[in-house]
């Protein structure tokens, strides 16, 4: 994700930190607490927002967000800059944790009511309306709008609902292999539209 996208994330329009997130994370890996406090200010909003979106439950989301943020401290030594931006690394951890929580919870629900899962789907309009009109969000929204319906719905259900691609296929009534390729094709189009560098 580009520098521009990152820096606009500062809450309350606060000034951009002197050090970038990768540099902060490098200092956190060396045990620097003040760097972690600064990194927190940069990542907490996206982490909590993403986890809330996936879990749909504020109490659970805050709990998971707290776990994710502590995990960032704990695993900072394992961050490899060559594999991606610091924010991408952090949100990968956050998404995985949220999805794990959804699936362990879902396993319980499935035993009770296997059909209940179908009700979770939301139309795309509702999905986009729930986002605020910041520049980043507008840009994501514009790029999502350029995908085919199947690409967009597959990505939204997989990422925001935490579905596996066979679950997405079940909801959309298409073959799993089709969803698999549509997710990839859609992400590649998104990548090019957003100008993602890494």
């Amino acid at each position: 994700m580009g520098e521009r996208g990152r820096l606009r994330l500062q809450p309350d329009g606060e000034p951009v930190p002197a050090a970038n997130a990768e540099e902060l994370l490098r200092r956190v890996a060396a045990g620097d607490e003040s760097a972690f406090a600064a990194l927190y200010d940069f990542i907490a909003g996206p982490v909590l927002g993403l986890v809330t979106r996936v879990l749909r439950n504020h109490a659970q989301a805050e709990e998971v967000a707290q776990e994710v943020l502590v995990e960032v401290w704990r695993k900072a030594t394992r961050y490899v800059p060559e594999r991606g931006s610091a924010l991408s690394w952090v949100l990968t951890i956050a998404h995985r944790r949220a999805v794990d929580r959804v699936r362990s919870h879902q396993a319980v629900l499935d035993r009770e009511d296997r059909a209940g899962r179908m009700d979770v789907r939301r139309p795309f309009d509702e999905v986009t309306e729930s986002t605020l009109a910041t520049l980043d969000q507008q840009r994501v929204r514009q790029c999502l709008a350029q995908l085919t319906d199947l690409q967009r719905e597959s990505i939204v259900l997989a990422y925001y609902n935490g579905y596996t691609y066979p679950e997405v296929a079940e909801v959309l009534k298409v073959a799993p292999g089709t969803v698999k390729t549509r997710i990839r094709d859609g992400l590649i189009r998104l990548r090019d539209c957003l100008g993602v560098d890494r």
Partner: protein, 225 residues
């Protein structure tokens, strides 16, 4: 890479695979540089979807996270090349510093400070040089961070059972024969000045609005001595 496996990059990047498929694909990734590159790019693309959902986190989340990291050891780095393993700072020092950081939450005057207080004073109290974190006994999990030089303390509570609308958790500072109210816990953090001679902190369930003195047994206690 085979075409069949390659198409999994997108689903893998979005965590839309089962644990079994993930493990299989990661074995493939280890041998496929082009796949690793694509996964990194598609993950970064997914990052945009996450960033688009960013919200303003509640101020107490930062205090809770800093209190937790204060007692969390970092993993050692993975060593890939021969040579000396890098050591992170001594754990004890980190605890002391972060304990100080947690204490920084105390900041302002006697009684309850709302959780919408700006984070900056919290940070400054958390970094007080003599701040110490003390764990609770009893229900839930509470951490008291004390700065003696500032005569301030901050209480961070989590895991206390939810109360009905008619009741609140009230925090008491206890010294010889006397319980002084530090205020109502709302919802998980409370900052207070620390009067002389206080040797215990207790949390009780009280009617909404609070009581002049504790009317029920403490659900959680913290000893300062």
């Amino acid at each position: 890479m085979t075409a069949e496996l390659h198409t999994l990059t997108g689903a893998y990047a979005l965590d839309a695979v089962s644990d079994v498929e993930r493990a299989g694909f990661e074995r493939h990734l280890a041998e496929c540089a082009a796949c690793r590159q694509e996964v990194a790019e598609l993950r970064a693309t997914g990052t945009w979807l996450g960033v688009a959902e960013a919200v303003g986190p509640p101020p107490e989340l930062k205090a809770l996270v800093l209190a937790e990291t204060a007692r969390t050891r970092q993993l050692p780095p993975r060593v890939t090349a021969p040579g000396k393993r890098r050591r992170t700072k001594a754990f004890g020092l980190r605890v002391a510093l972060f304990g100080a950081a947690a204490a920084a939450v105390v900041a302002v005057g006697v009684g309850v400070v709302t959780t919408s207080a700006p984070p900056a004073p919290v940070d400054s109290v958390l970094s007080a040089p003599d701040a110490t974190a003390i764990q609770s006994a009893g229900e839930g999990s509470a951490t008291l961070v004390v700065s003696r030089s500032r005569n301030q303390a901050v209480l961070l509570a989590s895991g206390l059972p939810a109360l009905d609308a008619g009741h609140v958790y009230q925090v008491w500072m206890i010294r010889a024969g006397e319980a002084l109210s530090a205020g109502i816990l709302q919802p998980r953090m409370l900052m207070s000045d620390l009067p002389p001679g206080i040797d215990r902190i207790g949390i009780t369930v009280e009617p909404t609005g609070g009581s002049a003195g504790p009317t029920t047994p403490a659900v959680t206690r913290i000893s300062l001595t």
